[in-house]
Symmetry: D2
Amino acid sequence: MVHAVGNVPVREEGVSMTAKAIVNATVIDGTGRPPATDAVLLLDGDRVRAVEHASVVLPEGAEVIDAAGRFVVPGLMDANVHLMSLVPDFVLRYEDRYAELIEEAAQITLRAGVTTVFDTYGPLDALLEVRDGIERGERIGSRMFVAGQIIGYPGPLSWESLSRGNLLSQATVDRIERRFDQGRELALELAWRTPDGVGRAVGDYIERCGVDFIKYAACMHDVPLIVFSEPTQRAIVEAAHRAGLTAQAHTMSVESLRMEVEAGADLLTHPNVTGSEPIPDELLSVIVERRLPSSALIWTEKYRAYALENWSDRERVLFGEPVYENGRRMIEAGARMLLTTDGMIPGRRLLRPPADNGPVAAGPPDHPFELGESHFLWFVAAAEQGMAPMEALLSATRYVAEAYGKDAELGTLEPGKKADLLILDGDPLDDVHNYRRIAAVMKDGVVVDRDALPARRILT
Amino acid sequence: MVHAVGNVPVREEGVSMTAKAIVNATVIDGTGRPPATDAVLLLDGDRVRAVEHASVVLPEGAEVIDAAGRFVVPGLMDANVHLMSLVPDFVLRYEDRYAELIEEAAQITLRAGVTTVFDTYGPLDALLEVRDGIERGERIGSRMFVAGQIIGYPGPLSWESLSRGNLLSQATVDRIERRFDQGRELALELAWRTPDGVGRAVGDYIERCGVDFIKYAACMHDVPLIVFSEPTQRAIVEAAHRAGLTAQAHTMSVESLRMEVEAGADLLTHPNVTGSEPIPDELLSVIVERRLPSSALIWTEKYRAYALENWSDRERVLFGEPVYENGRRMIEAGARMLLTTDGMIPGRRLLRPPADNGPVAAGPPDHPFELGESHFLWFVAAAEQGMAPMEALLSATRYVAEAYGKDAELGTLEPGKKADLLILDGDPLDDVHNYRRIAAVMKDGVVVDRDALPARRILT
Amino acid sequence: MVHAVGNVPVREEGVSMTAKAIVNATVIDGTGRPPATDAVLLLDGDRVRAVEHASVVLPEGAEVIDAAGRFVVPGLMDANVHLMSLVPDFVLRYEDRYAELIEEAAQITLRAGVTTVFDTYGPLDALLEVRDGIERGERIGSRMFVAGQIIGYPGPLSWESLSRGNLLSQATVDRIERRFDQGRELALELAWRTPDGVGRAVGDYIERCGVDFIKYAACMHDVPLIVFSEPTQRAIVEAAHRAGLTAQAHTMSVESLRMEVEAGADLLTHPNVTGSEPIPDELLSVIVERRLPSSALIWTEKYRAYALENWSDRERVLFGEPVYENGRRMIEAGARMLLTTDGMIPGRRLLRPPADNGPVAAGPPDHPFELGESHFLWFVAAAEQGMAPMEALLSATRYVAEAYGKDAELGTLEPGKKADLLILDGDPLDDVHNYRRIAAVMKDGVVVDRDALPARRILT
Amino acid sequence: MVHAVGNVPVREEGVSMTAKAIVNATVIDGTGRPPATDAVLLLDGDRVRAVEHASVVLPEGAEVIDAAGRFVVPGLMDANVHLMSLVPDFVLRYEDRYAELIEEAAQITLRAGVTTVFDTYGPLDALLEVRDGIERGERIGSRMFVAGQIIGYPGPLSWESLSRGNLLSQATVDRIERRFDQGRELALELAWRTPDGVGRAVGDYIERCGVDFIKYAACMHDVPLIVFSEPTQRAIVEAAHRAGLTAQAHTMSVESLRMEVEAGADLLTHPNVTGSEPIPDELLSVIVERRLPSSALIWTEKYRAYALENWSDRERVLFGEPVYENGRRMIEAGARMLLTTDGMIPGRRLLRPPADNGPVAAGPPDHPFELGESHFLWFVAAAEQGMAPMEALLSATRYVAEAYGKDAELGTLEPGKKADLLILDGDPLDDVHNYRRIAAVMKDGVVVDRDALPARRILT
């Protein structure tokens, strides 16, 4: 019984992790194999030992968790989040508390079943501090992999859509921006340089900063301007590969997407977002055939109805009908989709005027950018747009692990993998809403005390 | 011996304050009487008992402080400070820590010999929290009296000289502004109302908020626009008087100054600041004859030389030659001057572009707005402009107490008054630089552990 | 017969103006006397000779105009117009053609029966050029009286509600602003000075520039900030009076209105516009009792319904219910109202965002600021709010002439007055819509060729 | 004698163009051949018939122009000008007079010896109107070839470096921008589309609008953002080529320059402007080897000294040392340089704040962007940086004609070519300052009445 598990301490040295057995469950192991009913999932410390038949003899002294009638799936993995809000209000107010906010967000996601998150843009120092704290067991939260700066991107106080006025001193702006662009070395100005020069800068960044993967700006945020030429994009991807990391690109137009694909990116960030121009069939075919992992932004019908009524003209241009259709076409064509929310706390409202970005404003229905919530909606949207239930599960687990090269450890419930899993009260293959019916979240073989999260509430 | 006093705990219930005697000192008691050499200053708990001749018999058990060769003066009183920085960078960044910053600032001033400060504009909730904490002995810092909002003034994110762009959400701006204008009740919009209506709003503010005195905007900050008509100004002053409080006005033009005088204000805030128009002789005569306490901004020759070279055109208009001359004329004519810094931490740079307002920028020489430092410079400036040494001392003590109606308790070293005092290593009447040579600061009869201040450094 | 009058040349030297007789008309002479039916209006050159009974013997050779069934009233007088648009788009685009636009506007008003306009704010050089051209008979248009700059007011590129960005060079801004503020002598900066100083500046302006009356800013445009103190306002009024001119003030709050009244202004500019605060009864009584001419902005119910739905929050604050009620109360109390449109071409949309200020945007119904149209709507609004028909006529003729001290020449159809008149097809006292049914407009005793106006269309 | 030529009428139907002979001159024919001393240049109507020896028999009735001691060169050709100022002040003020300003500018250039200009960005309607008027002989001015909009570029009110504030209505901005971007079809938004889509838009533009050549934005103006991908750039170039036109690109970074080269552009617009990154040697070699015509911006040492002292930080980044070095390296390496001023009236001050862009501000020494003046400075700069005298002459004549595919008619004084030429008082191959010593300008075989130009002065 889950309620018998009791309070779960942060793992400490000297605390023995005994063997565990989750019994009587239906196990969907994330490999794509059919669900194993009446199965026993054996864990050894922070690892999966095996999935066995009910008749297996349990290890002596094993803690038994009875999951009768329940469903076990791998812990969910979100391919694109921003644990630190990028809204200027928060970036300014919490300048001295980024790590606290990031930890809070990582606990919100963990509580909601997302055992691993890939943070694709944020203040690197604070992200690394929390990532490492969680890794060392000194902090609680989803397993984090971080990119830090989007190579060639402006910082959060410099997006094109912002007019800064003269409210802030340049010293403040610089101090904050540098936490993103690492002393302007990785800001937009990088685009002045040659492919070689940019490749070297990225190599230095990887070597110096300890990031887990690379994300670069193939284009800007809300205008179709290209940041890096194709040779430069290739140089960035190669620099990542030389260091054994994956590379992905922020793209928002059909050409920047095509360039990313040709540059050899390992994962496509929101490839369906191409403004008012649909992805050409030929390019879509390449994406499908190469099984390029796609962090597409797909949103529910309910949100879509809201958006059609409430979006500004600019938002319609950037995120309108072709974007929706691109997502649908990708699913239909069998593209390799990844669970992706691009979520923050509080969820941003696309390009809403700042007046609406404050924490108190009521959000839209089925808000697609709210950490801890939007991944559930992703399953709804995927189903609405025709994705098969098992494919959706894989998109939220194994595919993400593979896309980021983390499948040796994560993504499935196979022997030797990390024991990150969810116990659900209903069959998620039967009804996507069952992803919400979380009986337990286990990370590193330990049941998470979800009621205790977040430990310190600042934004939630 | 001062060094024998040891560590001074925050006063607690049950700790007996024994009698103290400061012996062998020259006492300048702040009444204007000549210094008493070889005097004994007797204290009883937090009060002054008497100033006696060396021959007096000390009370039994009295702690004796030998101040041979030293000079005792009343604790300094700054008539106009802003313990919380009003620079937007800080207002935003420290939104959750205003009280901490205010406490830090109040410790910086206390350490520097300013035992009492009058905070004339700031976030009321945090100011009251610190004021009351100090009053109850739970916090350490200068004795504080606070005005909160300048009636009819914009908040720190809305000064005319700022362009906010669209960086911040309206929610953030509103949230912060409301800590100043008390829910917009006291912002510029108040100026739509009739004199009666404004008077009532001020009465409500006093009754509801527990402020110590009232400051209103007779005119705006950097344009010569008048906020309140004469009848309205009278209604504000009367509302303050009905509640037993003093009233003062922010003025920046000759007409707004004249209006304040006619409205019966008790204290004039920077009356010498009248832009490019000198104070008319007739108005100056009224100010002198009525002995209207004047928080004039007077600056050293060294700063003036800097300013003449470095100020922007706009600053020259607002703070140029007539402003300097007004100050000099006031001193010459015998106006009732008060020690005034208008200081903050870090000291603002007048209307400098925000780029220069950050904490790291090198300040000007003899920076006139730096808390903990600028009051020393005030004495230098006053001397340069012809103020007699004893007059300067009274301007920094008794006159301030009288101007704010606090002379029953503060301002001089007379029997029954609060034992707030400085022991100086040199005679301040001989050389104004001796105000810096502080051997000890005593507040409420207790020697301040200056080395321990500020207890927590955030901005300093 | 009007149609027999033929083409009317611009008056030239040497062209003899023969006597004229308008016969068979009902003459409403603007004095307040009952209409004279079956009357004969005798004109001599540009002057009225007499109103006689039908039986009078006509002067030999007199041109006879048969106005059987028609109604003759004095030419209408609009107490507050802006012949040159103040919208930045036009101010910039037509910088070299202000005089042409002003002439076009003066022809639009003349065609619509407004034989005299008082222009209360605009580029003085161009206004004087057109005014004098019309006066000399070299141009055609309504008789113009001009104030030029509103003393103490910002120019059209500097209103508080505008953010200029860095689009324009300072040289362009200065060049244009100086056409309004006469080299910054009369801009907001004037408010730094003493009452005497301001009075002298106004005296100089009158002497140097040849304006017809004075308007000053008692307060700013869309915030309740006072520009000039009461003594300064008095000094301005006195400077005008010394030169034999009238003075009026732009006011937008109850206190600035009260100050204007106390300063002795001769005419009140939109006294009903006091934001969200109703005019206090006492002040209203003074206005009524002193018969202070009031250029109130009163608008039709149809526009009011539109406004209630379409106005921004800011417009609601500035022009909402109390403003409407003030107007109604003034009419009810018998205040001395003047026909006032504050009109331009194209009519501005209050404080609408500039996007809506372009000439192509569809206007609101019963647009109250459209020259050539809005004065007709004023009669409708006045009737809706209870003004008696004869009072409305006087408000549009004699009262305006008296308010500006022009009643020796204008405002009524009495012997010796200027022969400015309208021949209407219906009785305006019976139905205010009859003011639109213009059979003929006569100015200076000459029938205006309305079909030929405007002679050159730029904005219309 | 030149002074005998008399007043030159605009060419009209029926006016016979007789044969002309310029005798006793040294003819430098622009082919690169050595100067022909004591030569006779025979013209026939608007064409060159031949360059002969002094002994040739002149055609009967030929008008003889004695150019003894003088030097005849082909009319100069400026590869990059903006006849209509792009400074917002002028764009707004002269909205109704663009054609007049363009004509004035084309007369300023003609008077100064530039018989042909290539206008690479401006309001197409007005440019075509003037171009065609000149072509038909109805207007006087330099021969014009126009590109209209820079494909994919923002209009003059939308440059990245401008903040528009809310001064202007959107209607005004749209109305003006559309004269550049042809109804937004060719603005930045084009970059959303596929290469095919962009190619079609350019084809439509050419077909619909009658432009003479194509210029597109390979990158933005003052940030290193790429507008079009390489395939898109190729599609644009091909669309131009299909219509028989040349294509060039605005580039400001090494990568956008490389992309332009690879896309097959016919002419490189300011290829030396690559911000802080020098052109890589390899790319420079390609440019040199392919003899790609280069509209480099090269400036005199005197201007460079000024710039080093006066430029803003941003200007230093964009136009600093590498830009100068690039130009020098190109000349040294024998790149195919073209006379290029990028000039306007008044000459813009690079990215100076708008305050300095007004017509009255004093310009820098050797202002490189002043039409009518800066082409003389180009020869000085070219010489300073090592360009041989004959190469400079060809760069200003034949090379430009060839680059634009106009060499069948223009660029040299060969039989059958247009008789566009200058008669100079000194040898330009001996001293570049002799280009200023213009004795006569002849265009289409007719001597220009330089004293009569510009016929109507607006900006000059």
